[in-house]
Amino acid sequence: MAFSSLSFQQQQSFDPAAKVKAAFLYNFTKYFEWPDKMKSGNFIIQIIGTNTNLNQELNKMASSKQVGNQKLEIKTSTSIDASTQPHIIFLLSESSDMLKEINSKYKGKGSLVVTEKNGLAKAGSAINFVVMDNKQKFEYNKNNAVKAGLKTGDGLNSLAIVID
């Protein structure tokens, strides 16, 4: 009698947490308006840090989805890429200490900063992923989004943990 070992391995190459984050990131694009100069060209999501599964998932998403008329482009790096003006910057947990630097570099330029470490929505990110009751949730700081140069309504408030 053999275990269904292959079955689990097949599914293991799929990371549910990465899929959820990808879906969240895609949804965020519906709640913000980027500056006019960023409404052409590719819609860039910049990941700072290393998460192979998330990177794969986002690239899969980019192959099937776009934001309005803009194609999705996923960029990954371990440091700030000065040559890029991303629409979304996702600062992975391991790169959290770069938040201050990113905020000063991109302030008012129209980059939505997303983080995933406790307390960062108060410390400067517009959106911060948190885990509650074994589910992915997010904190939302509208002031930080506005400071980043984005227009937004209150649509996210009812779906997020609002941080003032």
Partner: protein
């Protein structure tokens, strides 16, 4: 009008004819039995069967254990001549078993006990083989279990003290892993997942510490949760995303006790360590996921 002598002669002729008819009929039945026996010996079962069907309904032979015994033999041989996988011929096996049981019941002198037991044993074995063959055919899982129950029923007749525990575990574990594979290969079809779950839970009813069933159930629940996530569109609205997460979380949590059980039974089972890492990761419990990742790595270093 007939004269007395004519009437007497006529009556005598009638009685005579009746006696000849009765005697011949009785003789004919015996004759039929020998014909059937001869045809069976010559392995001409197709020709023997219609004759046997006459024997078992005739008043003189219908209560004779020999009639039902030869019927069982002929049907079981005919069944054997057909492909085992030809399930439309299963009535042959059913008839053979019914006939052997009838013969046993009538056989108060126990003249056929050995052969009848042998037929029953043979038939039980055929039911078992069929039950396993049918597992490969996803449409016939219900029939498979029915034949497995027939196997148990007839085995109990020739061996009343037979302990089916291990056989049950093997059968339901095979069913479980077969349908779990079908579930994976058929785009996570829920129907197959449910059959696998039913079979594996049956194993745990018999033996709650069965490693194979525990690990397969853990994997099954995990995969069902992961499937909900996999099927989700990136475009799903945030409220719906929360509902999907909640449903997947329930399934991941259901998989946990099975995998923890495997880990408790065998702390060095790499599969359990790897699976627990995956389940905790899906539950976004990084600390626990990391704990099992490290345990797995430590195991591999040894």
């Amino acid at each position: 009008m007939l004269s007395f002598s004519k009437s007497y002669h006529y009556l005598k002729s009638c009685i005579c004819f009746l006696l000849i008819f009765v005697w011949h009929n009785q003789y004919a039945q015996t004759d039929l039995f020998f014909d059937a026996q001869r045809l069976c010996n010559e392995k001409k079962f197709d020709e023997a069967l219609p004759i046997i069907e006459k024997i078992i309904i005739h008043p003189e032979t219908k209560n004779d254990p020999a009639s039902w015994h030869i019927r069982s033999f002929a049907y079981i041989q005919t069944f054997k001549q057909s492909l085992l996988s030809a399930t439309d011929k299963i009535y042959l096996l059913d008839t053979a078993m019914y006939s052997a049981l009838r013969s046993m019941k009538l056989d108060t002198a126990k003249a056929y006990i050995e052969n009848n037991n042998s037929f029953i044993k043979n038939g039980a074995s055929s039911y078992y083989k069929l039950s396993i063959i049918l597992l490969q055919d996803s449409l016939n899982s219900v029939k498979s279990e029915q034949y497995y129950l027939n196997y148990k029923k007839y085995t109990s007749i020739f061996d009343p003290s037979f302990d089916f525990k291990q056989k049950d575990i093997n059968y339901f574990n095979t069913t479980g892993s077969t349908f779990e594979d079908l579930y994976m290969r058929n785009n996570f079809n829920q129907k197959y997942g449910d059959i696998a779950k039913y079979a594996l839970l049956k194993v745990l009813d018999i033996d709650s510490q069965n490693i194979s069933a525990n690990i397969n159930l853990g994997i099954l629940y995990y995969n069902q949760g992961a499937t909900l996530m996999r099927m989700m569109d990136y475009d799903v609205d945030l409220a719906q995303l929360d509902v999907i997460q909640e449903n997947a979380k329930k399934l991941f949590k259901q998989s946990l006790p099975f995998m923890i059980k495997v880990y408790q039974l065998d702390p060095k089972a790499e599969k359990a360590l790897e699976s627990l890492q995956g389940i905790y990761s899906a539950l976004l419990d990084d600390e626990k996921a990391n704990e099992f990742k490290q345990k797995k790595e430590a195991l591999n270093k040894k």
